[in-house]
Structure formats: C-alpha cells, structure tokens
Symmetry: C2
Subunit: 347 residues, 2 copies
C-alpha cells in the first residue's frame, strides 16, 4: 500500500477548510471537502472562497467540493471537521457508504482495523454521553484507525499560512507518525503522542476554563488573577482527565496548555466571550440569544461536572462556572468563594 | 516564641511596596520598608505615595520608611525585594548588622538555623554565577531560614487590592506555611511548596521565554504561534530546571506556568517588550538605550545557555533568543530554524 494521496475533509467550516489548504500544499495530492449542503458546495466552487466561515482567504483551484459522499468514499484518509454536536447524526448518515477496506499500511498495528484512517480536528464532547469525537467514530463505524490533531489552532491564522504547532495523537503510534508526515510543513509543525483520550479531553475541557477566564476579563480582575485562574484551571483539567485514564503530560503540552492559552487569551474565542459577558452582568439566556455559533464550554461544563460528582473529583473552577451559568450565582460571589477556599500545598 | 509581628521589607520598589501593603492589612502588625537611599525614605514619608515605582497608590499611615538598617535589625521577618543584580552588594553592606538570633519557631526544622527568616520576592539569577536570590542570602549571611514568594504578581495590581495567587516555597516546610499565614487574605491566595530551587528558577527562566514571546508579537506571528512557543518554552524551562534538581511539578504551577502567562501576555512586561522591539527589527543596543530598568531575561539567557551547554541540555528557544540578542541573527531566520527542526514525540 502506498502512502495516502487522496484526502477528504468532512466539513466545510473554518477548520476543515484550513486543513484542506494545508494538505493541498504538497504536490501530487488530491484534496476534497465534503459539504453537508449541496448549495454550499456550489457556492464554494463558484466563489473559491469560504465566505461564510473563512472570508478573505482564496481557495486554490485544486480543492474539490462535493456534497455526494458516494463520490468521496474511495479517499485514502479522512479529516473529521464536523462540530461534535452534529457528529453522531452525520456519521450515521454516511455509514451505509463508509468503506471497509484498509487504505494505509499501519504495520503491526493494522490487525483488526477496518477502513481508511480518520483524523479528528473536532473539539468538544457529546453533550449527553461525554463521548469524544473519535469514540463516536468507533462506536458508529467500527474499529476504524482514528486519531486527533489538537493544539492552538485558530483556523483563520492557519489558513493564512501563519506558523502553528499541533499534536497528532492516536492510540496507533504509526498513525500518529503518518499524520505528522501528511501535515508537517515549514509553517505547520506536528508533534506525536499516543494519548488520544488526553488530547481529545484537553480540546473539550479548556472551553470551560476559557469561560472562567472570560469572567476575569469581564470583571476587570487583572493579569495576576487570570494567569492564576488558567494555571489552576489546567491543574483541574488534568485532575479530571487522568481520573478518566488520560496521561498527565498531555495536559502540559500543545493540546492542553497550548490550546488553553490561545482560547483564554485571544479576544475572538466564543467561550471566552461568553465568560466576558457573564462577568459584565449578562445572563446566559441573553448571551446565547446573541451568538451565532454554539459555545461548547457551556454544555461541556454541565456534563463534566455531573461526571466529576459521580466519580468524586474535585473541580472548584468548573463548579463555579456552573453556578454562574446555571444557578444564578453572581460572578463576584463565585470569585470570592474561589479565593476564600483554604489554600494548601500546590498540586 | 510568638508569631512574627514586625515585618521589614528590604527594597522600596513596586513589589516591595506592594508586599508591605499586603502585610499591613492585618491588625497588630508593624511593617517597615528599608530604603537604600535616605532621600527616598524622606520622600515616601512626606508623600505617602511611591511616586517613582507605584504612582497613584496611597500608602497607609502605618507604613514606616527607614534608611538606617540598624533601626530595623530587630524585625521578626524580612521580605527581600531587591533586584537580583544589587542583591549581593546590598546584603554585604547589611551583613555586619544582621541579627543572628532566631525570631520564629520553625519546630523541628529550627536546628542549626540562625537569624530571622527572609522571604524573597526577587526574580532573576545573578549574572555571572547564576545563583538564585536565596542562595545569595545563604552564602552571604549563613544558614538563615529562607523562602521565596513567586507567581503571577504585577505589583501594580497587588497594590490596588486586585486578586492574586502565589506560591510560597521553602525547603523548610514550616516556613512555607508561616509565610502563607502571614500573607494569605481574601484577595491574596498563597499555596505552599518545598521546591525552593524550582520556584526561583521559574522566576528567572520565564523572562527568557517572554523575550521569545515578544518576538512573536513584534513579528505579528499570531496567537497559535505564540501559544505553542509558550508551551514549548515551559517544557524547556522544566528540562533545564529538573536537570539542576528542581521538581517537575513546580513548572506547571503558579511560579512556572502562572508567572509565564502574565509575563508573556501582559503588554507591560519589560522582557516581552524587549522581544517585541527585536521582532520589529531593532537591535539590542538600541533597545537597552531606551529602557529605564534592566530586562533580566537578556542576561539570564546568556548565563542559562552557557550552563546548558556545559551540562548538555537542549534548549532550542533559549538558543534562538541568544542568537537574536547577541549573534545578530534576524528574528525571521530564528523562527524559521525553530519551525524546521525535525518534530518528534512531544515531551
């Protein structure tokens, strides 16, 4: 089996489009984007620009846009760039057409695997079940080779060729290395890891901390408070993740710390923005009415807190975010309660 | 022995003054600031404001300002807030008057210790020797009980009563707990640690990474690149620190990660500013001419890189910062070299 040459990105949002641009940079490749809606495929073909999600970035002539999945089922590898909330339903829809023949040689790891590899760039957990994107893939499609590409990755910057470094994580080490080979370039640096669960949990949990960081911004609490919040927030993400079986180190790497910084610091992030508006006194209802896209952290907070209670994991920041989001607690009181907890040894 | 009631802060800069304000918040305490220059003590007494380093913050009537160290030698505890570069010379000057009687009961840890405890809030390493502030204290004054209070701590914010969380680290656990008791309040949260070396190394090493982060800003490389740089920078700080005997965990706590975020993100930091100007094409000579205070990271970078070479520790970001600062390398080339290194497993 030769290396993958035909890549299909599932999803025509900002991150999917940015991934397609990255993949299309290397010669000899075919890169397609599967669009859920035929009219969007038509518009993308005509405009050569993703006006809805990535305005101002020209899309190279070689990129294909296709709403008919049957025409893409022969791809060597798939990139999953569908918001987690729609993932299960979308995969169910594509399932009857999903190929079962392996397309990439993963050496000793290939035994028992079916179909082409799928690499997820989705961030978030399924609302009710807390399943990660690749867990949804495996539960829907069977033992497909899966991985995730996670890290500080504003799609707008990646699409414009600005430098970025991400983590390719897979429980199949050969697949992580293959993904590194597929994506790595002079402006896009890819590290590898075998901690798939950790990487995907990081991508979801940081959104809750970003809401808290936004509250700091909205209340004008200053740099000291926000940095301390992010530090304790990362410790909290790690506590939860390792209790679920993730590796501690992942939380301090690009998927954890790296993405957390971008999400908490950049003024553009939706989750941080929700927090900022809460900090200024708006209610969750008012905020969500004014938002075009879902802020994943709002729902992640609910699910994570429920599971943490069940497992007896202490998550004071997540609990405070939950109290402000859903229990009507004033942000000022939540901050005061966090600060008045008895401090002990760091850890 | 009763608990400490008379605290003297050595140094009348922004951080020293902020510490004095924190200590003076609790009733029944005497808080003094030792000023190196008598005229500064006179001005502080008259103005009740530190116009030079902390303008706009009223200083409570109870704060004492004293240039004559002999009058302060009976204090129960000292806070060291003198820039590392002046520390050795200043302590030599105070040494003949330094008390040798213990003032605070540290229980089983007291054996062999002399004099009152000294807690350092200084950040940086001595330029030639790479000694930490508390190492300088012990080598100058003998086996004094020492510790460090490190973390995200813009003095301006602390002085204004904005919330902050820091780490009190001492190789004497009882002293870390005592410092927590002395400083902890509803807006100032103190965690404890026994990794004094790690905390002090964090306080110095983050300045080098902040220069690199500033280069990202100056070149307009974006949020993804800067977050990845900070993440890999923290990994580099940890690699160096643990090779010297520090604990890995400290680098992911308030002293490491927390302070790194503040230093790299806040627009006010001197080290980040040096990097930003380098990123815009200025030379180090031009930049230093325009700066009032020393940017510690410039010299820390030199010393750390020399020691890392000696010990065979790989520090690619520090090496790149050194090349831009002292070897005339263009920032663009340094970034390209960092991005083109062969990426491997994260760690």
């Amino acid at each position: 089996m030769a290396d993958a040459r035909w890549f299909t990105v599932l999803g025509d949002g900002a991150m999917g489009t940015a991934c397609a641009l990255l993949l299309a940079k290397k010669p000899g490749r075919r890169v397609s984007i599967w669009c859920q809606f035929p009219e969007q495929a038509t518009a993308l073909r005509a405009d050569r620009e993703n006006r809805k999600y990535l305005p101002g970035v020209p899309l190279s002539e070689s990129l294909e846009f296709e709403p008919d999945f049957a025409k893409l089922a022969g791809s060597d590898a798939f990139i999953l760039a569908i918001p987690t909330v729609y993932l299960g339903a979308t995969l169910q829809r594509l399932k009857p057409l999903w190929p079962s023949a392996p397309t990439v040689d993963l050496g000793a790891e290939s035994a028992g695997l079916i179909g082409p590899p799928i690499f997820s760039v989705a961030k978030g957990l399924e609302r009710e079940t807390l399943r990660t994107p690749t867990a949804i893939v495996r539960e829907t499609l069977g033992r497909v080779p899966v991985g995730a590409l996670i890290g500080p990755s504003h799609a707008e910057e990646i699409a414009r060729g600005m430098p970025a470094s991400l983590l390719a994580a897979s429980d199949l080490p050969e697949l992580a290395v293959a993904t590194q080979r597929w994506f790595n370039s002079e402006t896009f640096r890819v590290y590898t890891s075998t901690d798939l669960l950790g990487a995907e949990l990081c991508g979801a949990l940081k959104n809750v901390i970003a809401i808290a960081a936004g509250v700091c911004d909205g209340m004008g609490l200053g740099d000291n408070a926000k940095s301390a919040l992010m530090t304790r927030g990362l410790a909290e993400m790690r506590r939860f993740g390792t209790a679920l079986g993730a590796q501690s180190e992942t939380f301090f790497g690009l998927a954890g710390l790296g993405d957390l910084i971008t999400t908490c610091v950049s003024p553009h992030g939706r989750n941080r923005k929700v927090g900022e508006l809460l900090g200024r006194g708006q209610s969750l209802d008012e905020i969500l009415k004014g938002m075009y896209q879902v802020a994943e952290g709002v729902w992640t907070c609910q699910g994570v807190l429920a599971l943490a209670r069940e497992k007896g994991i202490e998550l004071p920041i997540t609990r405070a975010v939950h109290a402000v989001l859903f229990e009507g607690m004033a942000p000022g009181r939540a901050v005061a309660e966090l600060m008045s907890r008895e401090p002990g040894p760091e850890g």
